[in-house]
Amino acid sequence: MTRPVALVTGATSGIGREGALWLARDGFHIVAAGRNAERGAATVSAIEAAGGTAEFVPFDITAEADWERVTTDMAARHKRLDALVNSGGAFFSKPLPDTSLGEFRTLWETDVESVVLGTKYGLRTMGATGSAGSIVNVSSLAGLIGLEDCAAYCAAKAAVTHFSKIAAVEGGTFDPPIRVNSLNPGVIYTEMITGAYGDNDAIKAFVKDGNAIDMLGEARHIAAAIAWLAGPRSRMVTGTAHVVVGGRGSD
């Protein structure tokens, strides 16, 4: 297979699915990862219906054995891994006094450990196949500033943001060098928000209201940033935290 290959986690919905579509448009073969096979199949057929190529691999991003199995298989079949987008994650909002340690740990596993494992096996696979790869870790504005009632999420996303910088330094020791960046979206109107707060005009207005510009953040805005960071046009960009926030949190 001569076309570049991208592994995208969380590709069964929201930012991950849209990111996979944009990467397919840029010529990547997509390995779409997620837990829900039905939704994964929908992502694959959406890409294929539009002229791209994709496959779905059912996979738990918090399980190291799954990462090892999937990346070993990819290296054997595709002989390359050009981009890894760690987009899978979870969110909840709850005041700290009501947040249990169990809830904190579950979010940490889904949002932080998945990225650590993904980056570890991404670097291994890119290194083993000699790929000048790009790893994009989807973090959040919540990893840069504090948001009310989101202590666990803010802590997790700060960990992802800083971990990505450390990984960028290590990525530079590979030959060819591997790039690692975090992408820090503001509040984006996806299933992650509608699942937590509801899907209606009042929530939409609330989400938009915090932005400096009068625009609702949508998955396509983040997908464009994923495609740019994952592709060759950003070849000298590494270790950055790329904020796509509509000006939110900057004042």
Binding site: L21, A24, R25, A46, I47, A49, A50, G51, G52, K165, A168, V169, G171, G172, P177, R179, G186, N211, A212, I213, D214, M215, G217, E218, H221, A224, A225, W228, R233, S234, R235, M236, V237, T238, G239, T240, H242, V243, V244, V245, G246, G247, S250, D251
Partner: protein, 262 residues
Amino acid sequence: MATLAKEASATLAGKVALITGAASGIGAATKSLFEREGAHVLGTDIRASGDVFQHDVTHEAQWDAAVAECVARFGRLDILVSNAGTAQAGPIVDLDLAVFREQSRVHVEGAFLGIKAAVAQMRRQAQACQTQDGQGTPARGSIITIASVAGLKPIMQTTAYGTAKAALINMTKAIAIEVGRKGDLIRLNSICPGGTKTAMTLAMFDESYWADKSNFADMPLKDYCRTEDIAEAALYLASDAAEFITASALTVDGGWLLSDRI
């Protein structure tokens, strides 16, 4: 489901850009990339050459003239790349106040005047397409200031340059918030290049420096930036794909910001 087929039109088809410092280096590379992507570009520089318009960015009247020239040639202004700059390096104990002021004037005042002139022009364009019911339409545009990684982390002997670039980065963010909160869809972002081989930096470090890979061994990507790398970032921020990006500082630096190299 939208088709995945690449749109036939270029990224900046029909857009009009004004780029300062366009006679060489990052400005020249950005001008040619923007033109390849379908934009009409007025390039300006301190000295006129070819189709590059004479323009001293530290003079307010010359900004008015440059914007007027752009509108006269192409009818409007959608994108400003405030790129004109000048280098400085040396120990602070030997730093002349005049040099410090020149850095501030070119990088901070130059961008201040340029952003002011561009925002005014973009707002005039929006007023011109006011709807019949009298409701205003938001002004649109993308303004990019070329800053430096030296404005994000202290780099040895760049006291005046780095200070000016830090001010430029924060001023860009402040104006991004201001115009956004007033209802405009004008986006402002900085690009922070790391070491980039240009006419400006060649005056400080000759060819042998850039050819010696050991000078970049402590950078994560083990290399310096080409002017085209910065131009690509400008294209990205100028494009409609980046319509939700404002008040950001995008580093294109091979990882210099996070390395321990100063």
